[in-house]
C-alpha cells in the first residue's frame, strides 16, 4: 500500500430513496462523478444531499432498481466497510476510547497493515495535518478544529479510493472554517482522490467543487462549474440559493425591463411582456442621474469592512441590495441613481 489506488469514477443510475415513513428523500436520479473530480452537493437542509452522499458511501441503499457503480463495478449491495472509502462526518465520529494516534491508525489496523507501517503512516499524517503534538491526546481534550483535523487524517490514512465529506465544517466557527476549507482544498489537489463534499454553505461548495450539484426537494436542480452555477443559474431556485440575487418585476419592451424605478437593460432578443430582471448586488454601481438605469432612495446601509451593502427602495417591490466598494458617503433617505452592469439570464419560464 505505498501508492494510491487509481482515482475512481462513480456512477449512479436511477437512484431514489424513500424512507420507512414514506418520505421521498430522493427522486430517481443519474449522476456521474469523474475520476479525480471533487463534486460538491449544495442545497438547503432536507434537499436530499446527505441522503445522496450516504447512498454513495454505502451507509444507505437505494430503492430497488437503483445502482451505484465504482468504475465498472456494481457496489450497490456492498456495505460501506467493503467500499474502501474514507468519510469525514459533521460530528467528527472520533472514537473517544482511543488516542489521536490510535484513531488515525484504526483504518490501517482493520486492514491488517503491519505495525511498523502503521506507525510510519500515522506519523506521516500527523505531520501532514500539523497535529504532531496531539498524537497521544484523548479525543475529549481537543478543540473542534483539532478534532476535524484528526478526523481528516483518519479518513485519509488507509488511502481510500473515494473521499466523502458530510458537512465537515458546519460545527466550526467562521474563521476556522475558512482556514480548514483551504487545507481541505490543498489536500484534495495533492491527493488527486475523487471526492464528494456535502454542504449547505455555497461559499464552501464553490471554493471546493470542480463541479457543484445544486439540489432541491430530492432532485438535482443544476450541475455545473461554480462559475456556471453563479452566472447562469438553471432556474429561480438556483438563482436565489446561490449568492444574493435581486429580483425586479416589470414589463419588458424592446430589450428593456420597465419597472417603478426606471428601466433595466435585459439584452436584445428577449420576448416582450411581464418579466423579472435578476441581478447580483455586485453587478450594480452608483451612476450620474443622467446615465442611471434606475433611481431610488437609500433605505439602509451596512458597513461590512471590505464593502458597504446598501438597500435601495423604490426600484422594485422589494428593496434592491447593492454592494459598493470604497468610501460611501450616503445618508438614509438620500436619492440614489444606479447603473446595472449586467443581468443574470435564466431560461424563459424557468421557475
Amino acid at each position: 500500500m505505498t501508492t494510491n489506488d487509481q482515482a475512481l469514477s462513480v456512477r449512479l443510475e436511477g437512484c431514489a430513496k424513500t424512507f420507512a415513513d414514506g418520505t421521498k428523500a430522493l427522486l430517481p436520479l443519474d449522476l456521474t462523478i469523474g475520476a479525480g473530480e471533487t463534486l460538491a452537493f449544495l442545497g438547503p437542509s432536507g434537499c436530499g444531499k446527505t441522503t445522496l452522499l450516504r447512498l454513495i458511501a454505502g451507509l444507505d441503499s437505494p430503492d430497488p432498481g437503483g445502482r451505484v457503480c465504482f468504475d465498472e463495478q456494481d457496489v450497490t449491495k456492498d456495505p460501506i466497510e467493503r467500499r474502501k472509502v474514507g468519510m469525514v462526518f459533521q460530528s467528527y465520529a472520533l472514537f473517544p476510547n482511543m488516542t489521536v494516534a490510535e484513531n488515525i491508525a484504526y483504518g490501517l489496523k482493520v486492514r491488517g497493515v503491519p505495525k511498523d507501517q502503521q506507525r510510519t503512516r500515522v506519523d506521516e499524517l500527523l505531520t501532514m495535518m500539523r497535529i504532531i503534538p496531539l498524537a497521544d491526546r484523548a479525543i475529549d481534550q481537543l478543540s473542534g478544529g483539532q478534532k476535524q483535523r484528526v478526523a481528516l487524517a483518519r479518513a485519509i490514512a488507509p488511502r481510500p479510493r473515494l473521499l466523502l465529506f458530510d458537512e465537515p465544517l458546519t460545527a466550526l466557527d467562521a474563521k476556522l472554517r475558512e482556514s480548514l476549507r483551504l487545507e481541505i482544498d490543498t489536500l484534495l489537489r495533492q491527493l488527486g482522490t475523487t471526492a464528494v463534499y456535502v454542504t449547505h454553505d455555497q461559499a464552501e461548495a464553490m471554493a471546493l467543487g470542480d463541479r457543484v450539484v445544486v439540489m432541491n426537494h430530492g432532485r438535482i436542480a443544476q450541475i455545473g462549474s461554480p462559475h456556471e452555477i453563479y452566472h447562469a443559474p438553471a432556474d429561480r431556485f438556483v438563482a436565489d440559493f446561490v449568492g444574493l440575487m435581486n429580483r425586479v418585476s416589470g414589463d419588458r419592451r424592446d430589450g428593456w425591463l420597465h419597472c417603478p424605478g426606471g428601466r433595466i437593460p435585459t439584452g436584445a432578443g428577449t420576448p416582450d411582456g411581464p418579466a423579472d430582471a435578476l441581478f447580483r448586488p455586485e453587478q450594480v454601481r452608483l451612476a450620474d442621474r443622467a446615465q442611471a438605469h434606475v433611481r431610488g432612495t437609500l433605505a439602509a446601509s451596512f458597513f461590512l469592512g471590505d464593502r458597504t451593502r446598501v438597500l435601495v427602495d423604490g426600484i422594485g417591490e422589494r428593496p434592491v441590495i447593492v454592494d459598493l466598494v470604497g468610501a460611501v458617503d450616503l445618508a438614509i433617505g438620500d436619492p440614489i441613481a444606479l447603473e446595472i452592469l449586467s443581468v443574470t439570464s435564466t431560461p424563459v419560464g424557468a421557475d
Binding site: 460501506i80 468519510m87 462526518f89 460530528s91 465520529a93 476510547n97 484523548a138 481534550q141
Partner: protein, 268 residues
C-alpha cells in the same frame, strides 16, 4: 491555602454527620452485636468470633449459593442486557421506548407479585421449581432493567450510530465495530450496571423468599431464617458475614467504575 469557610459550613457538616449516622448506626450496632458474647451487654461483656464461626458452619452453603447466583445473574444480564441496550440505543423510536418501559415493570411490581407469577408459570416444572435456577430466573428478571438502563444511558450520550458509521467507513465489519468501538465505549455503563446487578442479586429477599425451597436458601433468606429460629447474636453475626462479602465487591467495582479510572482523570 485553605479557603475561608462559609457560615454554613458547620451546620452543613453537622447535618451530613447526622445523616451518615442515621444510615450507618443500625449496621454498626448489629455488627457489634454479632461480635459480642451477649448482645444485651454489648462489647463490654467481651468480644468473640464464636457466632461467626457458628454462622459459617450453619450457612456456608447459602453464602456460596448466593455468590453463584449473583455471578450467574450478572452473566445473564450481560448477555441479555448489553445487546438489548445496544438495540434500544441504535433505534430510538416510540416502539423501543415502550420496550424500555416494559422491562422496568419487574422493578415497579412488588417482588412477591413477580415471584407469584413465576411460580404460576413454571411451578409445575418439578426439577426446575426446586433448583437454584428458578431463583436465578427471578433475579435476572428483577435486575435486567438496571443493566439495560445503565448501559443505555452511556450509549445514548455517545451518538453510537455515527461512531459505528465512522468505524465502518474505515473498513470495520459489525463484530469488529462491536469489539473495538461499542463495547469499550459502553464500559462505564457496563461496569456500573454490573455493580448494581451483583449487589441487588446478593441482597434480594422479597422475591427469593417466595422462590426458594429449604434446599435453595440464599444469604438474605438464611438471615431471615437465623433471626426467626436462633439467637440474635447469630443473626447479627450473619450480618457481619454478609458485609464482609459485599463490601470488598463494592470497593473493587467502584474502583473500576468511571470517575476513578485513569482515562477520566484528565478530563476536567
Amino acid at each position: 491555602m485553605t479557603p475561608r469557610r462559609s457560615a454554613l459550613f458547620w451546620p452543613q457538616m453537622a447535618f451530613t454527620i447526622a445523616v451518615c449516622s442515621f444510615l450507618v448506626l443500625p449496621v454498626v450496632l448489629s455488627m457489634t452485636a454479632g461480635l459480642s458474647v451477649n448482645w444485651q451487654r454489648g462489647p463490654a461483656g467481651g468480644l468473640t468470633f464464636h457466632w461467626i464461626a457458628e454462622v459459617w458452619a450453619l450457612y456456608a452453603e447459602t453464602v456460596a449459593r448466593s455468590l453463584a447466583i449473583a455471578l450467574a445473574c450478572l452473566a445473564g444480564d450481560l448477555l441479555l442486557g448489553v445487546p438489548l441496550a445496544y438495540v434500544l440505543a441504535r433505534h430510538p423510536c416510540r416502539r423501543t421506548r415502550l420496550i424500555e418501559e416494559m422491562i422496568m415493570l419487574p422493578v415497579a411490581v412488588p417482588g412477591l407479585a413477580t415471584a407469584l407469577a413465576l411460580i404460576i408459570l413454571y411451578g409445575s416444572l418439578q426439577g426446575f421449581r426446586s433448583s437454584s435456577l428458578f431463583i436465578l430466573v427471578g433475579h435476572v428478571l428483577f435486575t435486567l432493567p438496571f443493566m439495560v438502563r445503565s448501559v443505555l444511558a452511556v450509549l445514548s450520550a455517545l451518538d453510537i450510530q455515527t461512531l459505528e458509521e465512522g468505524a465502518a467507513s474505515l473498513g470495520a465489519g459489525p463484530l469488529r465495530r462491536l469489539a473495538t468501538v461499542i463495547l469499550p465505549n459502553a464500559r462505564p455503563g457496563i461496569l456500573a450496571g454490573s455493580l448494581m446487578v451483583v449487589t441487588l442479586s446478593i441482597g434480594e429477599f422479597n422475591m427469593t423468599w417466595m422462590l426458594h425451597t429449604p434446599l435453595t436458601q440464599t444469604l438474605p433468606v438464611g438471615l431471615a431464617d437465623a433471626y426467626a429460629s436462633m439467637r440474635l447474636e447469630i443473626a447479627s453475626a450473619y450480618t457481619v458475614v454478609f458485609l464482609l462479602m459485599i463490601v470488598p465487591l463494592l470497593i473493587v467495582m467502584q474502583l473500576a467504575a468511571p470517575g476513578s479510572s485513569n482515562q477520566s482523570k484528565g478530563k476536567r
